[in-house]
Symmetry: C2
Subunit: 893 residues, 2 copies
């Protein structure tokens, strides 16, 4: 700091600081200075800079005497401004001493109020004001807080004494004890202090000095240290100390305190919103011991003050260009503003306020955008429950947001059947399997007893934008008996339950939901602001035309991942796929491949049609073949059943053949086994079939005047030779098709980067591949050596013991996975400067990960259709932060 | 090249080149020049430099006319030196034109012999010498080779014509046709050439020019290109062309040809060794149409020439300081040396020759070492079969070398039982499981029908240095009926078979083996030369005191990997381990942990004792717990059996409880599941038990005056937080133990680097860890995403299609895994310069990988005890190459 001063004034005549000086004045001090500058009625005071606190903490911690003359001078100025005298009579000046660091650390550090009172001033003030109750309650507070905070005496001792008094007098609040009893309590309090061999200084200046020192000291109390560590707040900042003239909302009938917002924090509706308590200090409003009144009561009781507050609200928003959350006190009919800060709000309110303020010309487009957290958009995309007080049966993991209400069903087939009759259903399963897809599609929501945030149910439901709660361990799902047992209750098929995908709650019956139509309109308006803000495009992961259309509605600029295999799980295709896998030789296989090709062609046709003019990245077959076959255990059980039932031996033989093939295909670690391009290399005819289907569909669309654009993606590449092999096949099959159609289409061939080695040799691969797409799900698995399906067994313990702060499957692990991505981007671009690079793992929908992708200068992120708005916001935020962060810094608080 | 000449002479008067000029003269040309320099009787000639070939291949390939005047001048010098005249009479000069590149490419490029003959010289020469058979056979050869090589006419056409002639005359060789018939053949050959519209030039200079051009051209024939690609030989080197006066071993009774070695290439025994054919050209000696005689016959027939050859052999070895493989021809009683090169040899001979030459003062220690390939030592470490012609029943994969003969047994228990009675046994299994260890130990050899080079049987057998053949798919092992069916035969328990672990052969009965005792002495002498040559130490992977002692005998400088879990698989420990895993709570678990601790303490005591004074790196428990429990299928079958048998229900309940736990522990991808330090973190008491056992054993040894040195290794770390957690536990348990013993021991705590992320954040980890050990088995799995257990399904196809040249589990993949290792070493050493770094994957025994470890400046490699000699040689080679490669380059050929 160039300036060598330690004290900064704020009063109506003289303001040294301003809102941009949080480094020096802390958040509170900067805010008080800024309010003064804005001409608001703020109780005058001064701030001791954070630097003083840093000085204090030089080893060993000692009060920095260098600041004391400045403090005394500031005190004198305060006496002049307020017309009161510190420690003097008839009008003693009382002050508060509060901490206030650069970053908010709510409740972590200390505060002492009513400094300046002592035996003499209390006595004379009580006489003078004729309000001994108020005066001795204040003195009592000072003794108690000073004892606790400054002298280190357990607060319990004071509280116990007060409790005894209140019981004796049969009253419920200290104030009801009355002046005489409170004066007695003050005497007792002083005895407690003496009993601890401590001294309460009667000299107000000594009180002040000790209180300042205590606040300095509180910067390093254990809970503050823990808080800073947890929130990544640097240790060496120190706290500022704010000394401010006390005002009293509890002085009498014409006094009171309140809190307010300049707009409704729940809905964003314009106009003041808040609460008010007459004859009360601020703490009582928030403590909840008395029920506060709405601000309309303030309007009725003190119309002039309400008008003044309304004007101040407008002034505050003009000044801060943000919705404000403020505290005020009325002392004998005079309004004081004690604090203002940006108000917290719901997602709905955030969007509404952002949009309104932009319309009002109060903020720029970038500001409107940056103030809505990407995740907050989720609240506008899905219905939410109204009643927060509903009975909760169990809690699982909130895998996919939404508020679902429906009848319980226990199988996918029944889900489809009952839903078709117009009944909303909730599919309740121990775990879901790929065969359940049609049931999941039919259901309002999905609830499972097992599995984590990345289980099959969770991943598929998020892909569908469908409400889903997983890993709800206290559920006992008896699929045979069609019963759900939980919390001592039994639910049968057809009973209603409600599932909250936003917080994991499972509730009995039909819980009411909030209307959402207005939200959709608002969201659409607001999303309009995003156009063209970011260089980082957002695509969607979509495997069906329905998802593709949904993604396009949400503003996706293409499909970043179309998984071809999901198409094979559909009821009419799975048997053909299975026959293909069971085929004895290439000729037999080609028969079934021919059938599958027609399915794929039709699927791709509708997807490419939906995305007309936009790029569609199709990943060739990825999962191991055994995923398309029944499980070994199920087959064994079925064969035993068939045998016992005396069924046609040929039917049994067929199942046995299937069992045999399942055995052959079994793998120890399927995640790292025979899948991805390894399949395409061992079964080139499967690759050829897929590529032919793709290009035939594209050519058909072209003939109809459309503009399909395919990006063919080779999965699980770890060697450039793998890519070369498959890319040659793709290009050959494309040329064959073009030759048949007598025209060519533009297309790209690229690769997933999802194996660590691929990232390491990205330069070699980029010489052959036209684009990269980071498959960060698998890349995270292999970089950590964490199998997603198994990591549940230890990741819990890791998070409990703080070995792992964020789930790397949700937010990109920058030191490890991020480093590999950086290597891949650098090497890839060096080898091919025009290389297109995207990401299609689930991280593509995570705002923190999107920020990293923006920093890496990727071309796009791809996420599930329902995450597209969130991802677009995150991309816009990254762009705004990168280009305009300095400008915003000055404006905000 | 500074020099602008293209032609280099070699004759007894004038030698331009020397042995160090392979770049310019190719290997053959450099060798011929060097032999001339050494005063050996070499037919005179000259070499056209590789640069001329490079010029030729400028696009489009054209004969570089610039070289022609130099060639003609050289030809004139050749005429002077030989006293013959090219194309002239009465003494026509005939020359050979041969290719010869820098790196040997045997048989890939072309040669034309007898250039200089034409109708006229042939006729007159036949008359003059009175040997028309010899002359027309030579002319026939010229026409045939020229037609094939220079004019591109299929050799078949010539051969078919010769075959008809020989059938007609009922003779078996061309020479037997006689002069008249051969002259007729020449006429017919010329007609063939004309029939193809080609011309055989009668002008010898034109013959020469065209032959030179053909040799240049042959540098780029498809098989030469393929060979270079496969052997990593650069494309732009070009070949030199050697023009040399022809000599004829087939001129008459006083002529002949032979090949020889200066020492026996099979045993290394000193003295000439070779073969000789009278009245023959060199090609006939190697062609095998006539049976050659031993050199002792040469001694009898031509004692003076034999003596001359003996002297030349000694001269050659003095000159080249290497055992030589040479070719010679006797033309009319005069000896000519045609070629000499370093002789190929068996491992035994390599060691013997190295040792002898060092003793003889012929080579330095470094030279003696560098000439023995590390892998060649394997041949001295294991017995080998004598009879290469034995009947082969089947071939499997050679998993661990050795020649084992014994009686067939089908179970580990029987192996142990029968072996104890003094019978050698071969354990024959479909696959081995951890329970089989005692049987594997008892057996001479192990043979399995399933599994690859990295299956359980293979890994364990290599660890034991025991002969093992795996994946022998044509075996039908019926363990129930105790029968082995293979190649239509049935073998019963007790029948003898022989198994060759070096090449995978399975043979019936008892095949004879070579004596090996002399080898052991020689090996031990030779290994003495290694002392102190390399900065890269060699440690062993050893889990038992026996292995540790073996490793020490082989010169290991410590244990780089002691796997603690193998100890738990022993018969008396497995049940305790299982009870520990089944324990309901920490208290119950602690009971069994207590028992396990005593086992471990005893094990570690004996291992540390065996390695007294040397470091022992102990890896904490690594495999997933389910590996210690029976397999699910086996348990289900057992329970069904027990139920059917009406066994005590309590026994059944115990198995069911076990089955339940097995189910709980089941994992989708166990390789990336709950194992390694993840176990130690969720079960800290297991870590504590192991560390206590370790330090108690060490303290007990210390009390007995020994110097144990422990390095505790945390497995599967991917987060520094994991390491911090476990290292704290280790240090705490160590301190507790020291406190009890009232003294401290030095020790280190370090980590495996086997997860890609650990390599990427190696700087963070190195701030906490005192050593790194690369676990390249797992690191390779995760870097490639190849599950070792499953990769067999596609790695075969990969190698077939040349997508993967080397198995990355055998030789380190430098671009991927090597890159990660380099990152880890650089980051690790930056954070902690004194960081000790080793490698303990199977690559630690692979010479190419060891070279890389040396280049990375690692402190040690660790491999199975039986690989220690090989690894020490490889480490010595790396050091010699790094420090002295220039000096050696000049000396060798």
């Amino acid at each position: 700091m160039a300036d060598s001063r330690f004290v900064y004034h704020f009063n109506e005549r003289h303001v040294d600081g301003h809102g941009g000086m949080k480094d020096v004045l802390g958040g509170k001090g900067a805010g008080l200075a800024e309010m003064c500058r804005a001409g608001l009625p703020v109780p005058p005071g001064f701030t001791i800079s954070t630097e003083a606190c840093v000085l204090f903490h030089h080893n060993p911690p000692t009060f920095p005497t260098i600041i004391w003359p400045e403090v005394l001078a500031a005190l004198r100025e305060l006496e002049q401004v307020s017309g009161k005298k510190f420690g003097g009579l008839p009008n003693p000046l009382l002050v508060s001493v509060r901490s206030g660091a650069k970053f908010s650390m709510p409740g972590m550090m200390d505060t002492v109020l009513d400094i300046g009172l002592n035996d003499r001033t209390a006595r004379e003030l009580a006489e003078e004001t004729g309000n001994p109750t108020f005066v001795y309650d204040s003195y009592r507070r000072l003794l108690q807080m000073f004892g606790d905070v400054v002298l280190g005496i357990s607060d319990d001792k004071f509280e116990r004494l007060l409790a005894v008094s209140m019981r004796g007098k049969r009253v419920r609040s200290e104030i009801e004890l009355g002046g005489e009893e409170l004066a007695r309590a003050c005497e007792e309090f002083k005895k407690i202090i003496e009993g601890e061999s401590k001294v309460f200084p009667q000299d107000p200046k000594e009180q002040l000095r000790m209180a300042i020192e205590a606040v300095f000291r509180s910067w390093n109390n254990p809970r503050a240290i823990a808080y800073r560590r947890f929130n990544d707040i640097p240790e060496n900042l120190g706290t500022a100390v704010n000394i401010q003239v006390m005002v009293f909302g509890n002085k009498g009938e014409n006094s009171g305190s309140g809190v307010g917002f300049t707009r409704d924090p729940a809905t964003g509706q314009p106009g003041l919103y808040g609460e008010f308590l007459p004859r009360a200090q601020g703490e009582e409003v928030v403590a909840g011991t008395r029920t506060p009144l709405g601000l309309e009561e303030l309007e009725r009781a003190f119309p002039a003050i309400y008008q003044q507050l309304t004007d101040i609200g407008i002034k505050l928003e003009k000044h801060y260009r943000e919705m404000q959350d403020f505290e005020f006190t009325i002392e004998n009919g005079k309004l004081y503003m004690l604090q203002t800060r940006d108000g917290k709000r719901t997602g709905l309110a955030a969007v509404r306020i952002g949009w309104d303020m932009y319309q009002e010309g109060l903020v720029s487009r970038e500001e409107a955008l940056i103030r809505v957290e990407p995740e907050q958009l989720e609240q506008l995309l899905h219905p939410v429950f109204k009643d927060e007080g509903a009975e909760v049966l169990a809690r699982g993991m909130p895998a996919s947001p939404g508020a679902a209400v429906g009848r319980i069903v226990f199988s996918a087939d029944e889900a489809a059947e009952i839903a078709q009759k117009g009944n909303p259903v909730i599919l309740v399963r121990t775990e879901t399997v790929p065969d359940d897809i049609h049931g999941m599609e039919a259901a309002e929501g999905i609830l499972t007893a097992r599995g984590g945030m990345t289980s099959h149910a969770a991943v598929v439901a998020r892909g569908m934008g469908k409400c889903c709660v997983v890993g709800c361990e206290s559920l006992h799902v008896d699929e045979e008996r069609k019963e759900l047992r939980v919390a001592g209750k039994v639910f049968k098929q057809g009973d209603y339950i409600s599932v909250d995908g936003a917080d994991g709650r499972v509730m009995p019956g039909r819980v009411q939901r909030v209307e959402t139509e207005a939200q959709v309109g608002l969201l659409s308006d607001f999303m309009g602001l995003l156009e063209g803000t970011s260089t980082l495009q957002v695509r969607a992961n979509a495997d069906t035309a329905r998802d593709a259309r949904k993604a396009r509605d949400f503003g996706a600029s293409g499909i970043g991942l179309c998984r071809t295999e999901h198409m094979f799980f559909a009821e009419d295709r799975l048997p053909v796929m299975q026959q293909m896998i069971l085929a004895g030789d290439a000729r037999e296989r080609s028969l079934f491949l021919g059938q599958l090709k027609e399915f794929q062609k039709a699927d791709f046709f509708s997807i490419l049609e939906a995305m007309d003019g936009l790029p569609v990245t199709v990943r060739l077959l990825d999962p191991p073949l055994h995923e398309f076959l029944p499980r070994r255990e199920e087959l064994v059980a079925e064969i035993l059943r068939l045998r016992a039932g005396g069924v046609d031996p040929e039917q049994i033989a067929r199942r046995e053949k299937l069992l045999n093939r399942v055995g052959e295909l079994q793998e120890t670690n399927p995640m790292m086994g025979h899948r991805g391009c390894r399949l395409g290399i061992t079964y080139p005819d499967v690759t050829r079939m897929q590529v032919q289907a793709l290009f035939e569909a594209a050519c058909e669309l072209k003939k109809r005047g459309k503009s399909p654009f395919l990006e063919i993606m080779i999965p699980l590449v770890s060697l450039v030779e793998e890519f070369r092999d498959q890319a040659a096949l793709v290009r050959e099959a494309a040329q064959e098709t073009f030759a048949r159609y007598r025209f060519e289409l533009p297309y790209l061939v690229g690769t997933m980067i999802e194996v660590p080695r691929a990232a390491l040799v990205a330069d070699d691969i980029a010489r052959e591949a036209e684009f990269f797409s980071f498959g960060t799900n698998d890349l995270t698995q292999m970089t950590f050596g964490f199998s997603r399906d198994d990591a549940g067994k230890f990741i819990g313990a890791y998070q409990q013991r703080n070995l792992l702060r964020k789930d790397p499957f949700q937010t990109l692990d920058l030191p490890g996975v991020g480093q590999l991505m950086r290597i891949a981007v650098e090497k890839g671009k060096r080898a091919r400067p025009e290389l297109k690079i995207g990401i299609c793992g689930e991280h593509g929908g995570d705002p923190a990960s999107i920020q990293f992708c923006f920093d890496l200068n990727l071309d796009y992120v791809s996420c599930s259709p329902y995450r597209v708005p969130v991802a677009r916001m995150a991309a816009a935020h990254a762009a705004v932060r990168a280009g305009k962060s300095v400008k915003l810094e000055r404006v905000g608080v």
